[in-house]
């Protein structure tokens, strides 16, 4: 580190002609005019009175609106159909707090001394003597402990401290199970019916007009969710069915995975896992509302825009003996975002 020459801070010493003393103190009205002083006193006191009144108003509002469900309009279009309870409790409390705050500041500005005070700074560092004394105490202590001579003690202590975090880490092991193959598997298997999410209604091809989009789940999802008590499976098994004219299908992920132009895709974005939501019927583009990855569902779920790297997984479907739409097989690849173990 090379030392360099530069203007020293002597330039800024108080006696420097560039840095004259403080400008003369200017008196305020309240310093010289007793009427102004009295007026300021009244103003501050009035503000504090307002605070008291507003607090009383809070109590009144609390009693007057026992239910937060009474809705009022203060300014049409701006404060319209708002909860009266929330509005009046909030306004009274806000007025009370603001009045106290403004009153205190007004008091300080008008009535407290505004003569600037100069305080000298001291170096942040300790004095050289303090440092030397500290060093001596420290070194005496270290020498007396013998940590330098007793190599065996020193090294075993370091070793003991180094392995100590292991129990701490191990204790976190049971936060959750090992991931195993869960990210790669879903509950969808050959022959499971695809039902409308929410109503559990099974679907026949004739139920789905061209251009339609239906959110579906495998029929077994409900039972799995009830048994598990979590939404875990839903995060992987959410599906969507769309229908287009068979000649509009440019490509699929497998031969004849459609049923008369009905295609089934995972609803989970391959980027960060958001459910897909915005479907452009004419272009068959499906957009993710989170980060705008766009998939062309007529072209094997190919990514045509956005940060997603993988095509949207397609589910092969067929109809069963009763004519209902069923999975022809499970997903042939993991659904959802990528992960390290995925090839």
């Amino acid at each position: 580190m090379s030392e360099i020459v530069r203007p020293d801070s002597e330039h800024l010493a108080p006696e420097n002609p560039d840095a004259p003393g403080l400008p003369a103190h200017r008196l305020r009205r309240t310093d010289v005019d007793p009427i102004a002083t009295k007026r300021a006193e009244r103003q501050v006191a009035n503000l504090f009175l307002v605070a008291i009144i507003a607090t009383v108003g809070f109590v009144v509002a609390f009693v007057a609106f026992p239910s937060p469900h009474k809705y009022i309009t203060i300014i049409p279009g701006v404060l319209q159909d708002i909860s009266a309870s929330n509005f009046f409790l909030g306004m009274t409390l806000a007025i009370s707090l603001l009045a106290i705050g403004v009153g205190a500041i007004h008091w300080a500005k008008k009535l407290m001394s505004d003569v600037e005070i100069v305080e000298l700074r001291h170096p942040s560092a300790s004095s050289a003597q303090d440092r030397a004394e500290f060093q001596e105490v420290f070194e005496t202590g270290v020498a007396s402990s013998g940590i330098k001579e007793y190599k065996l003690i020193r090294r075993t202590l370091i070793g003991a401290m180094l392995v100590l975090p292991i129990p701490a880490l191990l204790l976190f092991r049971d936060l959750g199970p090992l991931p195993r193959k869960k990210l790669s598997t879903t509950a969808i298997h050959k022959g499971v019916r695809l039902v409308v999410d929410g109503t559990q209604a099974p679907l026949r091809p004739s139920d789905i007009p061209i251009g339609a989009l239906v959110n579906v789940v495998p029929e077994n999802l409900q039972a799995i969710e009830e048994a598990a008590g979590t939404l875990d499976e839903r995060g992987k098994d959410a599906l969507m069915i769309i229908r287009m004219r068979p000649d509009q299908i440019i490509a699929q992920q497998g031969a004849n995975w459609d049923v008369e132009g009905i295609l089934c895709f995972s609803k989970v974005c391959t980027h960060a896992g958001c459910p897909l939501g915005l479907y452009e019927q004419q272009t068959h583009h499906m957009l993710c509302p989170c980060h705008q990855s766009t998939f062309d569902l007529s072209d094997a779920g190919r990514v045509i825009f956005g940060p997603a790297a993988r095509s949207l997984p397609q589910l092969a479907i067929t109809t069963n003996a009763d004519g209902y739409l069923v999975a022809a097989q499970g997903f042939t690849q993991p659904v959802g975002p990528s992960f390290w173990e995925r090839s």
Partner: protein, 575 residues
């Protein structure tokens, strides 16, 4: 202290009469607090509006603690499924987690509950915003320089914790919007190479969303992170008091003093009053502006989403980075590396915060400046630093704007694709331009300062001389302004000289490459600075101006034109 064998003699001579005095004596007999507190009460703080930004952060944190403790009394951090039968009719009979249903309960069945929820949320938004703007102030005025580098690091830590704490709290109600945010967070964790899937499985207690995460997040949100924030705030304030506050240059202000008002009474009243003002403004917002209406979003369901999903503002830059990242993914030896997630969500914030934390040390290394600094820089006097700061802010803002690309698309009738592609280019093009422009503006302002010192200010008074020539009269600037400009200009250290290529024996100098790099950076850092006039130059300029005036006056006197009374006043007082 241990030398005192006899009982403390406090209060022997002057027995306190008042209740306050008696309490004080009682406490001091047992703690010896008077010694330290007398210094604290008289402590001088300088006055400036920009010093209140950090205060806003502190006060919103207090509001967060108060409203947060209240909310814990009603909130149930549980993902156990319940059927809602509360007073909000549109969701009646729907299955949802207890976390969500208790949030509805707070909003619709607890008087003042919605107010407290909205205050908590507004205070959180304000907390992070105030920290951010406070950070800008500290950066651009060079308040991070020695001896305050550690406090800068603490501040960066507070900002980071603020983001974590905000996101944790935002995620607790388990509504559709926050659940989607957590889903993305899980996707990010999952993308971490080697350990990602394990981490995700441990954090969520299995698959997403599981039943463990909200209770775990709750402990982190109400205990762990606020505890850390509180500890860091304490250290932050302790150092502020110990270092004494920085101050702007001006008459009477030096590196060795601090000029302002004492803590008691002026700052007790002003800062105490300001706390109530911040508290009041937050309450006012909560009273009239709806924030996070979770009842409109519905309970979380991994198969549902609403369009226009937006995180709270401070997560926006991360979301924006995710949105404009190209879809890069590598497949190596049967493994996947998701650059499309790792770069924007892990690497970019990592770099941003590392550079932010390291900046004071980088600047000190480049400038070789090892002095203590208590007088603040005017941003114009450090054009390179100001330019770098503006550049970083523009980068951040562009990412942030990208986070709203869908909103911009619908509001301004643009396509999402155009906006996204434009942003992919702009994040690289705009920041360097902002750097150059900011630096030019700073240098322009320095030139103006220089002109003001040398030639005074333009009074707007035009004189016509007997020769027919028109001249504008310049008057010297006020002493206060002159002192401010001069002080700020003279605290600048000089650029490091180029190190010798070889030592005295003609051998290449050791560590030469590093030293040369440092010297080059230093020269770049100080390049194109406008020199501050010296004493002699100022005297000469003043003398010259005076002569000029007298010369003009002589010409006017010769033809018998007396200066107007107004002119006289202008010339003598500078006003």
């Amino acid at each position: 202290m241990s030398e005192h064998a006899e009982p403390a003699p406090a209060g022997e001579e002057t027995k306190p009469r008042t209740a306050l005095g008696k309490t004080g004596t009682f406490l001091d007999d047992r703690t010896g607090g008077a010694k330290g507190l007398k210094g604290l009460l008289g402590k001088v703080f300088p006055d400036h509006w920009s010093f209140m930004l950090g205060e806003i952060a502190l006060y919103s944190f207090i509001v967060l603690l108060l409203s947060g403790v209240y909310l814990t009394l009603f909130f149930k951090p549980s993902q156990t499924e319940v059927i809602y039968h509360g007073s909000y009719v549109p969701l009646d009979g729907l299955p949802m987690t207890e976390a969500y249903s208790s949030t509805l309960h707070i909003s619709f069945d607890v008087r003042g509950g919605l107010l407290m929820r909205q205050m908590h949320h507004w205070a959180a938004l304000l907390f992070v915003a105030a920290i951010t703007v406070h950070l800008f102030r500290v950066f651009f005025t060079g308040a991070f320089r020695k001896p305050r580098e550690l406090n800068w690091l603490i501040g960066v830590g507070l900002l980071t914790l603020g983001l974590v704490e905000g996101f944790a709290g935002y995620s607790l109600p388990d509504d559709l919007l926050s659940g989607t945010g957590l889903r993305i967070a899980e996707g990010i964790v999952q993308a971490i190479p080697v350990v990602g899937t394990y981490l995700a499985s441990f954090v969520f207690g299995g698959e997403f969303p599981g039943n463990d995460f909200i209770p775990r997040l709750y402990a982190i949100h109400i205990l762990l992170v606020p505890g850390l924030i509180l500890a860091l705030i304490t250290a932050h304030l302790f150092l502020v008091v110990y270092h004494k506050h920085t101050q702007y240059p001006g008459p009477g202000r030096t590196e060795n003093n601090v000029v302002g008002y004492p803590l008691l009474p002026v700052y007790t009243a002003k800062a105490g009053g300001f706390f109530f003002v911040v508290f009041g403004v937050i309450t006012l917002l909560a009273a009239v502006v709806t924030i996070n209406p979770v009842w409109l979003f519905g309970p979380y369901n991994p198969s549902q989403i609403s369009a226009g999903s937006q995180p709270d503002w401070y997560i926006g830059f991360l979301d924006g980075a995710l949105r404009i990242m190209p879809n890069w993914e590598s497949h190596i030896l049967g493994h996947t590396i998701s650059w499309n997630i790792l770069l924007p969500a892990v690497v970019i914030p990592g770099i941003l915060f590392t550079v932010l934390g390291a900046y004071p040390f980088i600047e000190a290394w480049v400038t070789g400046d090892r002095r203590d600094h208590h007088l603040l820089d005017r941003p114009r006097n450090m054009p390179t630093r100001t330019g770098l700061g503006a550049m970083a802010i523009s980068f951040y803002l562009l990412l942030w704007i990208s986070g709203g690309n869908d909103i911009i698309a619908t509001r301004f009738d643009l396509t999402i694709n155009e906006i996204t592609r434009a942003m992919q280019v702009l994040v690289f093009v705009v920041p360097p331009l902002v750097y150059v422009a900011t630096k030019r503006i700073c240098l322009g302002l320095q030139h103006r300062d220089h002109d003001k010192l040398m030639h005074g200010w333009e009074t707007g008074i035009i004189r016509r001389l007997p020769s027919g020539e028109f001249v504008e009269i310049h008057a010297p600037i006020e002493e206060e302004e002159q002192v401010t400009i001069l002080q700020a200009g003279r605290t600048k250290p000089a650029a490091l000289p180029a190190p010798p290529e070889t030592d005295e024996n003609g051998v290449p100098a050791p560590g030469g490459r590093m030293a040369r790099l440092r010297s080059r950076l230093s020269r770049w850092y100080y390049s194109e600075s406008v020199s501050t006039p010296t004493e002699e130059e100022l005297h000469e300029a003043a003398h010259h101006a005076q002569e000029e005036l007298e010369n003009q006056q002589r010409q006017l006197d010769a033809i018998g034109v007396a200066p107007s009374a107004e002119d006289e006043q202008q010339l003598t007082t500078g006003h």
